[in-house]
């Protein structure tokens, strides 16, 4: 009995000596102080003063490690360290978080950061190995009035879009073609699947030859207008690595999907269309001119037709010159025709006789009405006086 008493006493004394007093549960006053420090740090984050925010969050965690919202403070510290570019410290905090707050509601948020920083871990490993299976079925699109949520509903059981987004991003970065196939499957289930839609930028930047057809498909078939708009936007920002856009453009305009491509580009804004056309003309194959001609004939949107002509003007091959001559001679829309003539005028491979032939094909100018003629002459007479007055 003496021995057991001695051991027990030594153990208790050891714990009391080793564990500092702040590791005991915090008092309400300490919780309040910790919260005040957190709010101060958060204000720094809102102001963009990340260095100050980091100090404040660290102070809160050091002084009150057992405060009620230490896990939240720790997450904010991780975010702040990433903002500061101190990723090694962020990684250390993530590991510490997993040890210290295994049951925290902020765990999935920290998990995102772990994936972002490429840290190894069990969840991610499983996801990587079983990607097609492990991806949870995405939630159905929001339908007003269908929301049956009541107080006490366990929303934690729902798919976590931001976590899935991070996982999906890694898949795109590793194998874009595979990821695009996966994205198609998910969008069939949920046409506005946030994990996929929020990764449109990653897909667009991947340089995959399948990216353009994917976005064309989403922009034309997608039942959700916002998803279509976003797909069109990213068509205009595709990474043209290895002429991916030009190759896909030629393929898509060569078969039954021509009308789909034309429809999507018709609805795109001029900037988006221009970006696509810029990338198409960079493709080395002469087939690009045939593809542009097909689209030119299929679209009725005049600004788009003018843009195609402008793009063709930058192609040095003779096929482009022939296309421009044809437009200049036979186009019924005056602005488009004028664009073609202007393009031919600056090309060095165009004979002057060709330009003369084009001029002769223009309908003769209508005679100017007498009243209009008087007005024009009146302006001419007044012009020098105005010029002097300036």
């Amino acid at each position: 009995m003496r021995l057991s008493s001695l051991l027990m006493t030594l153990t208790i004394v050891g714990i009391l000596v080793t564990v500092p007093p702040q590791l005991h549960a915090q008092t309400p006053a300490q919780n309040a102080a910790a919260k005040a420090l957190f709010l101060e740090g958060r204000d720094f984050v809102d102001e963009g003063s990340f260095a100050d925010a980091e100090k404040t969050f660290r102070e809160a965690l050091t002084k009150y490690p057992k405060a009620e919202q230490s896990d939240k403070t720790s997450f904010y510290l991780i975010t702040t360290l990433i903002k500061l570019g101190r990723t090694d410290e962020a990684r250390a905090e993530i590991q510490s978080f997993k040890r210290t707050y295994p049951q925290s509601p902020w765990s999935s948020d920290v998990e995102e950061k772990r994936i972002t920083l490429g840290m190894p871990g069990s969840v991610f490993q499983a996801y990587r190995i079983h990607a097609p299976v492990a991806l949870p079925v995405p939630p159905q699109p929001f339908a007003p009035g269908r929301n049956t949520a009541t107080f006490g509903v366990n929303i934690n059981g729902m798919p976590n879009a931001s976590l899935e987004q991070e996982m999906f991003r890694v898949i795109v970065l590793r194998d874009a073609n595979y990821a695009i196939g996966l994205a198609k499957d998910r969008l069939k289930t949920n046409p506005s699947d946030p994990a996929v839609v929020s990764n449109f930028s990653t897909i667009a930047g991947s340089g995959s030859p399948q990216a353009f057809p994917f976005f064309v498909s989403v922009a034309s078939d997608g039942p959700i207008p916002n998803t279509q708009t976003q797909a069109r936007f990213w068509i205009g920002r595709l990474n043209n690595a290895e002429d991916a856009v030009g190759k896909a453009f030629i393929v898509l305009t060569g078969d039954r999907t021509l009308s789909v491509v034309v429809d999507v580009l018709n609805r795109s804004n001029p900037v988006e269309r221009n970006n696509v056309l810029k990338q198409v003309v960079q493709h080395p194959s002469p087939e690009k001119v045939i593809a542009l001609e097909r689209v030119f004939k299929a679209t009725t949107v005049q600004p788009f037709r003018s843009q195609i002509v402008e793009s063709a003007a930058t192609i040095p091959e003779s096929a482009a010159r022939e296309f421009l001559v044809d437009v200049a001679k036979h186009e019924s829309e005056y602005p488009v025709r004028l664009t073609a003539i202007q393009a031919l005028g600056v090309r060095k491979d165009v004979d002057v006789k060709v330009l003369g032939d084009i001029m002769r094909m223009w309908p003769p100018a209508a005679p100017v009405p007498a009243r209009a003629k008087e007005r024009v002459e009146g302006i001419r007479v007044q012009a020098p006086r105005n010029a002097n007055s300036n």
Binding site: L3, S4, L7, M8, L10, T11, G14, I15, T18, V19, L23, L39, V45, D46, F75, Y76, T79, K83, G85, R86, T87, D88, E89, R91, A92, S96, T100, D109, T116, L117, G118, M119, P139, F142, N147, G152, V153, I155, M158, P159, N160, A161, S162, Q165, L173, R174, S192, P194, A195, V197, S198, N199, S201, G205, T229, Q230, F233, W234, R237, V271
Partner: protein, 234 residues
């Protein structure tokens, strides 16, 4: 020659029938022995023990042996528990000590971690102020998804932040007008902010939280911020 040991053994065997011929010590021994023998003869004879007595004696002996064995086990178990507790306490102390150490930048920065870069290609042309606003908004929404109906202080804080965020939202939407995905995200965000700001009952919080999750608002707000990419994946 006189042998004390031999003399005394023979004397006891013959029960003092022999003449005392030994030394003084042996004579004293014989006198003491005679006195003891006389005392024994004077006492009443030991009675014969009956069979039931031996049965009772056996049972009692068995019980006492079992009790003694159990007590020994208990003592052993107690020592084992004490030893285990002491070990566990030592482990706890070691772990606590370990977790208290403030990690240094290079502590976990082993070579297994690829170098990372911050990528902004996907938000080229997007107003810097809008990017910052998206980052703040992401944290606001994350915070709100953790609030419970009983967290009165946090609810009040969320409403105040939502109100503040709404004030600058119009400007942000205007600045992001040429960036369709961000404009769409800010539209979604605005409707959520209005719900938070005008929250009437804490019981409505799960509805808003569910909407945030369903629409993937956090993912969308995050998508148009600078992102960390491993160098090997670029």
């Amino acid at each position: 020659m006189h042998d004390c040991q031999k003399f005394r053994e023979e004397w006891i065997a013959e029960c003092s029938a022999r003449e005392e011929t030994g030394c003084d010590d042996c004579r004293l021994f014989c006198e003491d022995a005679n006195a003891i023998l006389a005392a024994l003869r004077a006492s009443s004879p030991v009675p014969d023990v009956s069979a039931p007595y031996w049965a009772w004696f056996g049972t009692r002996l068995r019980t006492m042996l079992v009790e003694e064995s159990a007590a020994a086990d208990l003592r052993a178990a107690r020592y084992r528990w004490i030893a285990a507790f002491a070990t566990a306490a030592s482990v706890a102390v070691a772990l606590t000590w370990g977790s208290l150490r403030i990690p240094t930048p290079n502590e976990h920065g082993d070579s297994a971690h690829a170098d990372v870069v911050v990528d902004t290609d996907h938000i080229e042309g997007l107003d810097r102020g809008v990017v910052d606003f998206l980052a703040q908004s992401e944290l606001l929404v994350r915070d709100f998804t953790k609030i419970g109906p009983s967290d009165k202080e946090d609810i009040a804080d969320a409403r105040e932040r939502a109100s503040r965020s709404l004030t600058s939202l119009r400007h942000q939407k205007s600045a992001a007008a040429n960036f369709d995905p961000v404009r769409i995200t800010l539209d979604e965000y605005e409707s959520v902010l209005r719900e938070i700001k005008n929250l009437e009952a804490p019981e409505d919080i799960p509805d808003i939280q569910m909407r945030i999750r369903r629409n993937g608002l956090i993912a969308n707000l995050k998508a148009y911020q600078p992102r960390v990419v491993q160098v090997s994946q670029r």
